[in-house]
């Protein structure tokens, strides 16, 4: 586990200022790791775009309004092919300086670079888990779990500091969206949890909606 004490709420031990990621990204040259990643992404983009350009006619499904063909002068493949063709050329153009950067060995490893990527990866994992659970557990319970996990990971250790928010925020969001804006959010597919959610929303409706 990486050191996350600096994300802690007021009252935690003081720590040295740390510039934001965006500020660092804007200020310095690519690290060797990022330079390699730049090459890889440009190469992958060039490869995918070239494949799409060549294979585009095979990616058009049959159907549509056939009689329209008599009037239309454009093939459905033409403009996408042009777009992906341009992308192929541009990705190759971007690949050249990226390879030169790697070969020249310019740039220095950034302090805590892997730690930063690891923290972002854990945040992404929490978000993916949230996306997978939201239809099963329902919006309210899944959001409670995600909020608690994220707040804990970001350094909140005092349960009294985040448990009220963990409970109130998802219930409030679902109530506002469902009962005031008439936009439904996923109800838990576990019936016992769903019944509790319904009861809470009914109670809030009786209190706040005349």
């Amino acid at each position: 586990m990486t050191d996350m004490t600096q994300g802690a709420p007021p009252g935690s031990p003081p720590v040295a200022p740390d510039p934001s990621t965006a500020d660092i990204d804007a200020a310095v040259a690519f690290s060797p790791l990022m330079a390699w990643a730049d090459v890889a992404v440009a190469a992958i983009l060039a490869l995918i775009a070239a494949t799409m350009t060549v294979a585009m006619p095979m990616l058009i499904a049959s159907g549509g309004i056939e009689t329209e063909r008599d009037f239309a002068t454009l093939s459905p493949a033409l403009i996408p092919r042009l777009a992906f063709g341009c992308l192929t050329i541009l990705a190759i153009v971007a690949l050249i300086p990226a390879v030169q950067t790697v070969r020249s060995g310019a740039g220095h490893p950034r302090a805590d670079e892997l730690g930063r990527l690891q923290r972002a990866g854990i945040a992404a994992a929490i978000a993916v888990g949230y996306a997978l659970c939201v239809t099963w557990l329902g919006y309210i319970l899944a959001t409670m779990v995600m909020t608690a996990a994220m707040a804990w990971y970001l350094g909140l250790r005092n349960p009294l500091a985040f448990i009220p928010g963990v409970i109130v925020v998802p219930v409030l969001i679902r109530f506002v969206f469902e009962r005031l804006l008439l936009i439904s959010l996923p109800r838990s597919s576990i019936e016992s949890i769903g019944l509790v959610e319904d009861a809470v929303l009914r109670f809030l409706s009786q209190v706040f909606i005349p």
């Binding site: 600096q6 994300g7 802690a8 709420p9 007021p10 200022p17 740390d18 510039p19 934001s20 990621t21 965006a22 500020d23 990204d25 804007a26 730049d38 992404v41 799409m52 585009m56 990616l59 058009i60 049959s62 549509g64 309004i65 329209e68 063909r69 009037f71 239309a72 002068t73 454009l74 459905p76 493949a77 403009i79 777009a83 992906f84 341009c86 541009l90 153009v93 971007a94 930063r116 923290r119 972002a120 945040a123 992404a124 978000a127 939201v134 919006y139 959001t143 995600m146 909020t147 994220m150 707040a151 990971y153 970001l154 350094g155 909140l156 985040f162 925020v169 804006l181 959010l185 996923p186």
Partner: protein, 501 residues
């Protein structure tokens, strides 16, 4: 006309008009500030409510929602880099850097004043020149729209980020993704890879939320700062208000962007997104210190915000004079006009001139109300961003999911997550993601207008575009000149020198 204007002023002497405008503005601002909730959605939901009101209350109420929504989108764009609406994508360039410097409130106030001035000025121009604007609109057909879209894409790709090539790559990816699903001309499905979910195309809102919200969340977690504001910023100075001299320095930018937005507003189907980018680009090019753009420059807020709001006035012209809505918002307004017994078209000024002018004047006055309302409501937003990230990040993530779930199905969450992770990687490699979304939005109209233009051309494409359609040829040649200029500047630039298109 003066007599009609006099009658319309009589219609405006009622307090309840301003009450309903205020409610509309607050609702619009709230909706615009929520990623995933669109102004169109709010107007569609509130349309039946407006039917129950008389025309002089119901239509200004909807116009209030529209105006509030466009400004509301800039609030999350400035504070956390998540555009509440497409119109505020360009505001994400300088908004978050200003927030990190503790100038979030300054940026919000600059956005407010620029929005209100741009909107009010374009409304006044519309009111005074409605006949002339209608005649100009009639000159703009599919070839002109196609040429303007091409020019806009070139401009947007070149102006954003530090690398024109990476901006162009992002725009091409966006255009390519925009072609997934049913083709606009004859409905043939493309690039669906056998997935039924893709036949309708990639949905915009999960894509926008994934591209803008998730990378912000991941970056917020990866950085060790306690809040979104840099810890080197003096807390006493964080949350400072906009000073008069700062606003005065941006007046020229606001005026320029207002003219740009009003001009773009006359082109049906192009809209606020393109206007905001061109406004930003023009502000950057005219600046004495273009290198500060993207790093926290107030002109970078004033430019796009004045331009995207200045689009509002002229978009009403084709609706009122020809009965043709230029976009989805004006289509909803058309529904409101018809439901209230008004028939937009050439005769509307003879039949119901006083009412139409009264509505246009109410739209102008709505800006004055908005300054007061928004100025009061901005304070809690500016304060909220000072909370620790441990509180804000989960809320942002929960709202991002709500935005996706509220407009689509749970399967859209997959699109949002995939877009978010790819966007994070691209952002780390300094690809600007705004051209990707603009390319995505403009892909369909681009193909449709080109297809229509080729039908008009009857095989003689060059002669048609360059001899018969001067406006289209102007924009196409300007686009070519822009690319040539970029290449020329790129090769003349010394290492380390900032690129200014």
């Amino acid at each position: 006309m003066l007599e009609t204007l006099g009658q319309s002023i009589d219609l405006l002497l009622r307090w309840d008009i301003y009450f309903y405008i205020s409610i509309g503005l607050v609702i619009g601002m709230f909706v615009g500030a929520m990623p995933g909730l669109t102004t169109i959605l709010a107007m569609a939901v509130l349309l039946p409510i407006s039917f129950k009101l008389e025309p002089m209350l119901g239509i200004p109420f909807l116009i209030g929602v529209y105006k509030g929504g466009i400004y509301g989108g800039s609030i999350p764009a400035i504070l956390v880099g998540i555009p509440g609406t497409g119109a505020s994508i360009a505001t994400t360039f300088d908004g978050p850097p200003l927030t990190r410097q503790g100038k979030g409130r300054k940026a919000l106030e600059m956005a407010l004043f620029a929005s209100v001035i741009g909107d009010a000025a374009s409304d006044i121009i519309t009111l005074l020149m409605i006949g002339l604007i209608a005649r100009i609109i009639l000159l703009i057909g599919p070839p002109e729209v196609f040429a303007i879209i091409i020019f806009s894409l070139i401009l947007i790709a070149s102006v954003s980020g530090e690398s024109g090539i990476k901006g162009a790559i992002a725009a091409c990816i966006g255009v390519g993704l925009g072609f997934v699903g049913k083709e606009s001309v004859d409905g043939e499905a493309r690039m669906t890879f056998g997935l039924d979910a893709l036949v309708g195309g990639i949905p915009l809102i999960p894509l926008v939320i994934g591209i803008f919200a998730l990378p912000e969340v991941f970056e917020a977690v990866e950085s060790r700062t306690r809040s979104f504001i840099n810890e080197s910023v003096d807390p006493a100075k964080s949350g400072e208000r906009l000073r008069w001299h700062e606003f005065k320095n941006s007046i020229r930018t606001i005026c320029r962007s207002t003219i740009i937005g009003t001009g773009i507003g006359m082109v049906p189907g192009v809209g606020q997104v393109v206007a905001a980018f061109i406004g930003y680009s023009a502000a950057k090019r005219a600046s004495k210190h273009p290198e500060t753009f993207g790093k926290g420059e107030l002109d970078g807020i004033a430019g796009p915000e004045a331009a995207n709001n200045a689009v509002n006035g002229p978009t009403l012209v084709p609706l009122l004079t020809l009965g043709i809505p230029g976009d989805n918002i004006t289509a909803i307004l058309l529904g409101a006009f018809v439901a209230h017994g008004m028939r937009p078209g050439p005769q509307i000024f003879n039949e119901q001139g006083a009412l139409v002018y009264a509505i246009l004047i109410a739209a102008i006055l709505a800006n004055l109300i908005f300054v007061v309302l928004a100025y009061v409501l901005l304070r809690p937003f500016a304060k909220a961003i000072q909370l620790p990230k441990a509180y804000l990040v989960p809320v942002i993530l929960a709202l991002a999911f709500v935005g996706t779930l509220s407009t689509g199905s749970a399967s859209d969450l997959g699109i949002m997550m995939a877009a978010g992770i790819c966007a994070y990687i691209l952002k780390k490699l300094r690809y600007d993601l705004a051209p990707l979304i603009i390319g995505f939005i403009l892909a369909e109209p681009l193909e449709l207008r080109l297809s229509q233009s080729l039908l008009y051309a009857r095989g003689d494409v060059l002669d048609f575009f360059f001899l018969q359609r001067p406006i289209a040829s102007f924009f196409l040649l300007a686009g070519i000149a822009w690319i040539v200029g970029m290449i020329y500047v790129r090769f003349r630039r010394k290492p380390g020198e900032a690129f200014v298109p």
